[in-house]
Symmetry: C2
Subunit: 243 residues, 2 copies
Amino acid sequence: MNTASNPHIATAKEAGFLAHIAYDSVIFGFDGQQLKILISEYHNTKLFALPGGFVKRNESLDDAVRRGLFERTGLNNIYLEQFHVFGSVERYVPEIMEQIMVGSGKAPTPEHWLLDRFISVGYYALINYKDVKPQPDELSDSCEWYAIDKLPRLMLDHRQIVTKALETLRDNLDKKLIGVNLLPERFTMKELQMVYEAILGEKIRRTTFQRAMLAKGILKRHEKQFTGKSHKAPFLYSFETPQ
Amino acid sequence: MNTASNPHIATAKEAGFLAHIAYDSVIFGFDGQQLKILISEYHNTKLFALPGGFVKRNESLDDAVRRGLFERTGLNNIYLEQFHVFGSVERYVPEIMEQIMVGSGKAPTPEHWLLDRFISVGYYALINYKDVKPQPDELSDSCEWYAIDKLPRLMLDHRQIVTKALETLRDNLDKKLIGVNLLPERFTMKELQMVYEAILGEKIRRTTFQRAMLAKGILKRHEKQFTGKSHKAPFLYSFETPQ
């Protein structure tokens, strides 16, 4: 939202944005143990939210989301997917946006475009946790990783947006090689299993998981390198280059 | 669009709608032979388009789409699903909307909200062809069924929207019982196969299809009734009530 916060600007057109259209992004990362998402906290409000933003009048929706993610994570070429549009009337609560702007020292008039109703397009992103230094934007104190089973209370319908993103991830788990984007280039079978368990929200039997994964024919197993450590060190795998 | 066409109304707010947000609907029906969709033709323009519309300031996005479909088809409780948001800058061609409005005897100023940029949410609907009498709206001459392999040239990116809807239908074919919404309550195996073939765009071997469908355990076969006709009349099936 950083270019949209000049207090003298009251209409979306003057600000250079499309009115009524926002996006919210559920940015998944895996720290080797847990599935996490990025959450922003707004200055002086105790409000926690998904990183989101608006669409400039001369940019595509996808480009707007890519721009926002780049500003937040420094990453380009992120795996990004639309998953649902949130268009209920209940998500129109102008007092919340007012609170956020006031918390950052702005004084919006009631007609300010940011206080109007927004329909939000949900996107999820899968990124390699280690490549990222989360950056708060101008309105936010912080932008931090939270484990998906330990999220703070989120504003508006953002919790519902996270739930829907997870459902989509589950539905896509077998057909879209989710792991490619969440794991380092080489990983252990256990790490892969932990990604699956975190997304599915349930434990999987180790032998069942291993057999199913190997049967897909998408994993390449690498030779163990002699490191002087125990020969019980796990095998490392990588994904075969997709066709 | 029928409530949005008063020429004295220039802003979306005055018209009671959200600016910049539209929907386009791909309404699938099956006539027993072919998969078809509803296409509108605008007065005096030779422009063909998907039935679409706008969101009132006080209604949810889903309700706006349901309202539009009811106005077009007289049907409530339609099976309806969001599938993609179309947000490119290239779809902003104000001359086309101007042509449509002029064709209906309106004289919009360049600032008219309908001539501004729209991001469109694509929805697909599956309806029982026989229940429907398509109704053109105020801007349109006609609203007619067209076989999906014999569509007229569609305006803007509407052809791309149809393609994406079909892709989604294909992806969902096995998990969402698409046939329930496209077929009458009782149908032959051949009719079911024709629905699948139309969606997949390819022929399926009859025996393969029949075996796969029966193996799913979702079909109930009904006794043939004695009608005096040949006993070679095909069996009728219905879907088992979903769990």
